[in-house]
C-alpha cells in the first residue's frame, strides 16, 4: 500500500508520478486484464517497483489499482510502461471480446446457485 496518495481530490501529485501523462502508452489494459511480473525492474522508480511487486502473481488491473492505493488512471500509465519494457505480461480475457456461449452461461448459472 502506498500511503495517502489517493486521498483527497488533488490529482496533480498522482499524475506527477507519470510525468504528467494521463494516457497509457497502450490501450489494452482493461479493468479485468490479468497482469504478471516476468522480469526484474531495473529503474530506480519506487512507484514502478511497487506496481511491479503487486504483480508477483497474476492479478487484474483492478486489483493492482486497489492495492496500490493509486488512482486507476495513474496505475494504467505505470503498468503500460512496465508492459512496454517487458517487465510485466498482460493478458486480456476473451470474455472482454466474446459473449459467453449457452453452455458457459448454463455452467455459470449452476455454479452461482451452488455458492
Amino acid at each position: 500500500m502506498i500511503p495517502d496518495r489517493a486521498e483527497g481530490p488533488d490529482l496533480i501529485r498522482p499524475y506527477a508520478l507519470t510525468g504528467g501523462r494521463t494516457r497509457p502508452s497502450r490501450s489494452d489494459l482493461t479493468l479485468t486484464t490479468s497482469v504478471v511480473a516476468v522480469a526484474e525492474v531495473v529503474e530506480d522508480d519506487p512507484e514502478a517497483r511497487e506496481i511491479h511487486a503487486l504483480c508477483g502473481r497474476p492479478v487484474t488491473v483492478a486489483e493492482v489499482a486497489s492495492r496500490s492505493g493509486l488512482p486507476l488512471g495513474v496505475v494504467r500509465v505505470l503498468l503500460a510502461d512496465l508492459v512496454d519494457r517487458g517487465n510485466v505480461l498482460a493478458h486480456t480475457p476473451d470474455r472482454e471480446r466474446d459473449r459467453p456461449d449457452e453452455a458457459t452461461l448454463r455452467a455459470v448459472l449452476a455454479r452461482i446457485k451452488e455458492l
Partner: protein, 192 residues
C-alpha cells in the same frame, strides 16, 4: 495459478456492473457475495468537488464513497466473476462505458426513496443494449413496494426483470445474479 508458467491459462472473466445511487446498497450487495475492494478512479476524484449530492432520504448515511468497489467470485479454477459497483448518476457516466465493455450485464440497484437516481444509468444501458435487471433494495419498512410499481415508475420494458431484494442477504443477492444470467441466457438463445 502460481506464476508466468500457467499464465496462458488465465481464467475467463465475467464482468457484472452494479449501478445505483449513493446509499442504494451497492457495496452491501457486492460484499454479500464476495470480499470487497475499493478502487479509486481519478475521474471520480476530479468531479468529487463539483457537486453536492442531494442526501435527502438517506440521512442515516453520513459518509459516501465515490470510489468504485469490486468483488471477485471464483466459480471454478477457470471462471471468475467480477462485480463492479458504480454510482448511477450521469456525472459518473465516463466510467460506465469502460465498465460495460465486454460485461455480461448489469444490475440496477434501486432505492425506492430515490428512484430518479437510476434514470440516467437505465437510459445508458438501454442505449448500449447492455442486458440488465432492476433489483429493488428493500430497506426496512419498505417491503410494501411491489416490483411492478417500480417497473412503472422507472418505465422499463417488459423483458427487463424487476425484482425485490435485500442487499444484505446472500441468498437474495444470488437470486439477483441468477436472474441476470438467466436473462442473458434467454437473449443468447433467442439470438438477440
Amino acid at each position: 495459478m502460481d506464476g508466468p508458467g500457467v499464465f496462458g491459462q488465465a481464467p475467463d472473466t465475467l464482468k457484472i456492473v452494479v449501478a445505483g445511487g449513493f446509499g442504494a446498497g451497492k457495496t452491501t450487495l457486492v460484499s454479500a457475495l464476495s470480499e470487497v475492494e475499493a478502487l479509486h478512479t481519478e475521474e471520480e476524484m476530479t468531479v468529487a468537488g463539483t457537486g453536492v449530492d442531494d442526501l435527502k432520504g438517506v440521512e442515516a448515511k453520513t459518509t459516501t464513497t465515490v470510489a468504485l468497489d469490486f468483488g471477485r467470485i471464483t466459480l471454478d479454477p477457470t471462471t471468475v466473476v467480477y462485480l463492479f459497483g458504480t454510482p448511477g448518476q450521469r456525472r459518473f457516466s465516463h466510467m460506465w462505458a469502460e465498465l460495460v465493455e465486454g460485461a455480461l450485464g448489469a444490475v440496477v440497484l434501486a432505492d425506492t426513496r430515490r428512484l430518479t437516481d437510476c434514470f440516467d444509468v437505465i437510459d445508458f444501458f438501454e442505449a448500449r443494449r447492455v442486458p440488465f435487471v432492476v433489483a429493488v433494495n428493500c430497506f426496512d419498512g419498505q417491503r410494501s413496494h411491489r416490483a411492478e410499481d417500480v417497473r412503472v415508475a422507472l418505465d422499463v420494458a417488459d423483458p427487463v426483470p424487476v425484482l425485490l431484494c435485500d442487499a444484505r442477504d446472500r441468498a437474495s443477492v444470488k437470486e439477483v445474479v441468477v436472474e441476470l444470467v438467466e436473462l442473458v441466457l434467454r437473449l443468447e438463445m433467442s439470438g438477440a
